[in-house]
């Protein structure tokens, strides 16, 4: 492959030795991570609902209009919501078109920006987080980190794979900078934050 060799050679000719810098220590630190997370999520059009445990999460979900009115539901979180279709039987992601609600587990949530990490290995289909009309994420309150430095430090300890940070519902401002929620993906994003907050995670 000539292109590969040519590119690498040209880049080698342009090489300069510059040390990798120490990264900023500290980043964002919040006294009340849960509150900050709720505010950050609200600022991007999402909703954060703290609940005591999974049973309470299930009850909270049942009160949501988006859930009560939903016909086609997939929940990947045991004990929270009831699936109306057997996701294991879905072989083609195109069959998920028309999905009203997906309830997905998040590995961690980031206080500075409201982002929740969804580990791709728990998703039978990648479309599950983007194709439903409404998205419900379930995260342990003990798994809130302050900022993205902390989040990626956590992820670096996990096996490398497909995954996504989701911060609020799908949105666009491409027409005259007017914010419209529900562009191509979910029209709403609700985070059920389960349990007590726990100590600041050690990195």
């Amino acid at each position: 492959m000539a292109a590969r060799e040519n590119i690498l050679e040209a880049l080698r000719r342009a090489a300069r030795a510059v040390a990798l810098p120490d990264l900023p220590k500290g980043g964002a630190r919040f006294a009340d991570r849960r509150r900050q997370l709720g505010e950050a999520l609200a600022s991007v059009g999402g909703t954060c609902v703290p609940v005591a445990d999974r049973a309470a999460a299930d009850r909270a979900l049942a009160t949501l209009a988006i859930y009560r009115e939903a016909k086609k539901i997939v929940s990947l979180v045991p004990g929270v919501g009831a699936s109306s279709l057997e996701i294991g039987a879905v072989s083609d992601p195109h069959e998920l078109e028309g999905l009203d609600v997906a309830v997905l587990p998040g590995t961690l949530a980031v206080a500075e920006n409201g982002a929740v990490w969804i580990d791709g290995s728990v998703l039978p289909h990648r479309a599950l987080f983007v194709i439903p009309e409404h998205l419900v994420l379930v995260v342990d309150a003990a798994a809130i980190v302050d900022d993205m430095h902390e989040a990626y430090a956590r992820l670096a300890e996990l096996p490398v794979g497909y995954g996504v940070f989701i911060s609020g519902p799908s949105k666009t401002a491409d027409i005259e900078q007017a914010l419209v929620i529900g562009a191509q993906g979910a029209r709403s994003c609700t985070l059920l934050l389960v349990g007590p907050m726990g100590e600041r995670p050690a990195i």
């Binding site: 492959m1 000539a2 292109a3 590969r4 040519n6 590119i7 040209a10 880049l11 080698r12 000719r13 342009a14 090489a15 030795a17 510059v18 040390a19 990798l20 810098p21 120490d22 990264l23 900023p24 980043g27 964002a28 992601p93 078109e97 980031v110 500075e112 920006n113 409201g114 982002a115 990648r126 479309a127 987080f129 983007v130 194709i131 993205m148 430095h149 990626y152 992820l155 670096a156 794979g161 497909y162 995954g163 996504v164 940070f165 989701i166 911060s167 799908s170 949105k171 666009t172 401002a173 491409d174 027409i175 005259e176 900078q177 007017a178 419209v180 529900g182 562009a183 191509q184 993906g185």
Partner: protein
């Protein structure tokens, strides 16, 4: 060839719209400021980002090899393209070999740079740009006018009219919510019908072999989760060493671009779907040449946030199309001459050199210095008009002798008020075309200074 001044003149001919464009972008700039202010270590973050880029660009070949090795291990196929033609041929080959005729694309400035869409369309492939702004300009047969806000130059009424004709929305309807919903339904069908999805790449992580794609709409995710084939096109400069460094850029990107704390979706691809394929096309197309140039190599640090455009007093008042290059604004004025200095010779002059671009750049590219360096290069290569070179030479001569300067200034002070307007505002007075000259002072600064402080 028409340059920036001619194209800008067309833009400002619609005075009300030009002001609206200016204000729209300034509003985005203010949102960026507010977002930056929430991050206590913002300036340290920018410095770290600048340094990480400098380091990574300094040993790009090694990182690229590391990336390739890890990406292949995760199951991706990595292709290399020296230029736009090779890039387009690779993408077409991937599609043609699988008999794919419908492609959905999320935003990729690289494919704009390579003119991929017309190349594929000429070969029977239906290409749908799926970012709302990009879909709008695609339906108008226009390129994006801004790298983050592709349809920032359009009023909602114009988009309403376009959608009425193309998507069958109600005549006269211009509510952004209504129009966005119509586009959602239209694009949903395109996603479901597509045989492949193409995305750009915001970051490529050498240590993991992964690529990261950031969107707010979720269009990159729809386009990669439904069709089984994912093609990701990236310039060689997109690499970062590890996830640790990635964190720095993810914190900077959306805040600098739109003032959001992070994009809605920040998707990390490591290998293909179990039932699919991932092709990563790595493109040079002039980047290694720019990197070899010590004056302009820092421009390759750009993460395409668009902050320099939103703040630039010239961009805001002249519009993206006035630059005539895939990446407009201050960064475009540095990148474009690197490709073809003759064709883009007017761009480095489309700047007030105020330095605002350098101040907001999340990776601290010395934009206004590089713009100035291009001016010098362009003058050296005699690519400025003869009259301008002659005027500069005359001025340089006058400034060399104090008495000539004093004489000249005296003549201007005395003659300007008494000469007829037809002469003072003749076609040679470019400055006076849109505005009045200031009233001439009776005494020179030198005389004033001497009268107050004794001898100058």
């Amino acid at each position: 060839m028409s340059g920036h001044p001619e194209a800008a003149a067309r833009f400002v001919a619609d005075d009300a719209k030009a002001h609206w464009h200016d204000q729209s972008l300034w509003w985005v700039r203010k949102k960026r400021d507010a977002a930056a202010a929430t991050v206590p270590d913002w300036e340290a973050l920018r410095s770290a980002a600048a340094r990480i880029k400098e380091h990574t660009l300094g040993r790009l070949a090694d990182y690229l090899e590391e990336f390739e090795k890890n990406a292949v291990r995760s199951g991706a196929k990595v292709w290399f393209a020296s230029d736009a033609a090779e890039h387009n041929a690779i993408v077409h080959r991937i599609l043609a070999e699988r008999g794919i005729t419908r492609l959905v694309k999320s935003k990729s400035m690289l494919t704009e740079e390579c003119h991929l869409n017309p190349y594929l369309e000429a070969r029977g492939i239906t290409v749908t740009d799926t970012d709302l702004g990009e879909r709008i300009v695609q339906l108008r047969h226009e390129p994006p006018s801004h790298i983050v806000l592709p349809a920032i130059h359009l009023k909602k009424e114009e988009i309403g009219e376009l959608f009425h004709g193309e998507l069958g929305t109600d005549k006269g309807a211009s509510d952004p919510k209504y129009l966005t919903e119509a586009a959602r339904q239209h694009l949903r069908r395109r996603f479901l019908e597509a045989g492949a999805g193409l995305t750009g790449v915001n970051f490529a992580v050498a240590a993991t072999g992964g690529i990261v794609v950031c969107t707010n709409e979720g269009n990159a995710d729809m386009g990669t989760a439904l069709p089984p084939v994912h093609i990701a096109c990236m310039g060689v400069e997109k690499l970062v060493p590890r996830l640790e460094e990635l964190a720095v850029f993810v914190r900077l990107l959306a805040r600098s671009a739109t003032g959001q704390p992070v994009t809605t979706y920040t998707t990390h691809f490591h290998g293909p779907r179990p039932d699919g394929e991932l092709h990563i096309v790595v493109v040079d197309n002039g980047r290694s040449a720019q990197l070899a140039n010590d004056t302009f190599r820092r421009s390759l640090s750009c993460i395409r946030c668009g902050a320099c455009m939103n703040t630039c007093p010239v961009f805001r008042r002249s519009g993206g199309y006035s630059y005539g290059f895939v990446v407009p604004g201050p960064i475009g004025s540095v990148l474009a001459p690197g490709r073809d200095v003759g064709a883009h010779r007017t761009l480095p002059f489309a700047s007030s050199l105020c330095g605002s671009c350098s101040d907001v750049c999340p990776v601290r590219i010395d934009l206004h210095h590089e713009i100035l360096a291009w001016r010098q290069e362009i003058v050296r290569r005699k690519l400025v008009p003869v009259w301008k070179r002659a005027a500069m030479r005359l001025l340089a001569f006058i400034l060399r002798f104090a008495f000539l300067y004093r004489l000249g200034a005296w003549l201007v002070r005395r003659m300007t008020p008494i000469l007829p307007r037809a002469i003072v505002y003749s076609r040679w007075n470019v400055w006076g075309r849109q505005r009045e000259l200031p009233p001439m002072p009776r005494r020179s600064f030198r005389a004033l200074y001497r009268s107050r402080h004794g001898r100058a």
